[in-house]
């Protein structure tokens, strides 16, 4: 496994004080928190920072970690020394009880895995009921437009008899409710954590987000399509074929349509309740003047129409 330099991750010197470490953590956590950040690899960075903080904030873990020195030379593999952890007491749950709990690196698991994990107290009125679990998946837009089933592989954390946590892959075939919107959640009753004793299983909650579509953009429940039209179609009006999520339709382009004009097809967006709308945004596509007849046509247009596209710029 790879050695992790937690000081480097946190951007603090090896002799940093607790206060410096906490400050660095808060700053990095705000920057990379997946609910707040738009950074590209926010989630991975946030987990890394959380793990580093979990070790460096605990005097026992930090002391044990410091004994490892600054790790093997680049390219060398790291293995914990045989007497690792002797004389240290790792107890209590770390800060990882929030977002990234089950997702420590192999490095962390090898060092602190079995010891650092505290079972969460059971709560609620039915102690035998299994726990509710949560997952997040990416869907294609077609799944919400037309419904249908999708197959997901979820990683379910499992704790074995020795206290080691591992992620078990679980494949689910799920009927996607037509009209589900980004950020919404599907509840699968009884698919969560197993029952304790005679209780019922918990539920599984799947939050969905959408992958970008090659043609359509999603905004809330509305869909947008950029539709190229020829200059004469825009100027004179025309009926043109346009793709929609439910199949191509004939769309009437009114005369005098300009670039960026929006045409609304009511109720043809995401089929939720009430359904979203489908917007066609017109783009004027210019034919190339790459042969003599085309050039002649452009020259005829220039001669026929005194047109200054820059009139509004005052020139």
């Amino acid at each position: 496994m790879d050695f992790k330099d937690y000081y480097k991750v946190m951007g603090v010197p090896r002799d940093a004080t607790e206060a410096q470490i906490k400050q660095a953590y808060r700053k990095l956590a705000r920057k990379y928190h997946p609910d707040v950040s738009k950074e590209k690899d926010a989630e991975a960075r946030f987990k890394e920072v959380g793990e580093a903080y979990e070790v460096l904030r605990s005097p026992e873990k930090r002391a044990a970690y410091d004994q490892l020195g600054s790790g093997p030379r680049p390219g060398e593999r790291f293995n914990p020394p045989p007497d690792w952890g002797a004389g240290f007491e790792f107890g209590g749950a770390g800060p990882g009880a929030g977002s990234g709990q089950a997702d420590h690196s192999d490095f962390f698991e090898a060092l602190f895995g079995a010891a650092g994990r505290a079972h969460r107290g059971r709560r609620g009125i039915d102690p035998e009921r299994g726990e509710d679990t949560h997952a997040k998946v990416m869907l294609d837009l077609d799944a919400t437009i037309n419904g249908g089933t999708r197959t997901f592989t979820l990683r379910i954390p499992e704790i074995d008899a020795t206290g080691h946590m591992s992620a078990k892959a679980r494949t689910l075939n799920v009927q996607i409710p037509k009209g589900i919107l980004p950020g919404q959640t599907i509840r699968l009753a009884g698919q969560g954590g197993p029952a304790h004793g005679k209780g019922a299983s918990g539920d599984l909650y799947i939050e969905v987000e959408f992958e970008p579509h090659s043609l359509y953009r999603l905004d809330g429940r509305d869909l947008y399509l950029d539709l190229p039209v020829a200059p004469w179609e825009a100027a004179l009006g025309a009926t043109v074929k346009t793709p929609t999520p439910t199949g191509p339709v004939d769309l009437k382009i009114p005369a005098g349509t300009h670039a960026g004009g929006k045409l609304r097809l009511k109720g043809r967006g995401i089929p939720c309740s009430p359904p979203g709308d489908f917007y066609v945004v017109t783009q004027i596509a210019l034919p190339a003047a790459d042969d003599e007849p085309a050039k002649t046509a452009y020259r005829a247009m220039a001669a026929a129409m005194p047109f200054n596209p820059r009139a509004s710029l005052g020139v």
Partner: protein, 104 residues
């Protein structure tokens, strides 16, 4: 892969078809009911009908509550801070969407 004879699982959209009680939310996000009450008192979550004898939440509260807990826990925010952050995040999201549309 799931076995071919397994029927696909179907569920409902929480935001659309589910109304939650305090104990539902408490179980779903694994916090004490007392904490749910605090989330309401600080304006992080809102109740559907304030004057009914038992509090009810819309399904959309589930996601809001989960984000609130993560912010509270991971960033060390107190509840008024969480409420402010959530409102600002919503506003930011709305502005980003508007800008995205205007750019087209």
């Amino acid at each position: 892969m799931p076995s071919p004879h397994a029927a696909p699982l179907s569920g409902e959209i929480v935001e659309e078809s589910v109304v939650l009680s305090v104990s539902d939310l408490s179980r779903m996000i694994r916090v004490d009911e007392r904490h749910i009450v605090e989330l309401v008192e600080e304006g992080v979550l809102s109740v559907l009908e304030i004057d009914s004898s038992e509090w009810r939440f819309s399904g959309a509260s589930l996601r809001r509550a989960r984000v609130a807990l993560r912010l509270e826990h991971d960033l060390g925010l107190n509840l008024p801070g969480v409420a402010l952050a959530l409102d600002l995040l919503e506003e930011l999201e709305r502005l980003r969407r508007e800008r995205e549309i205007e750019r087209r």
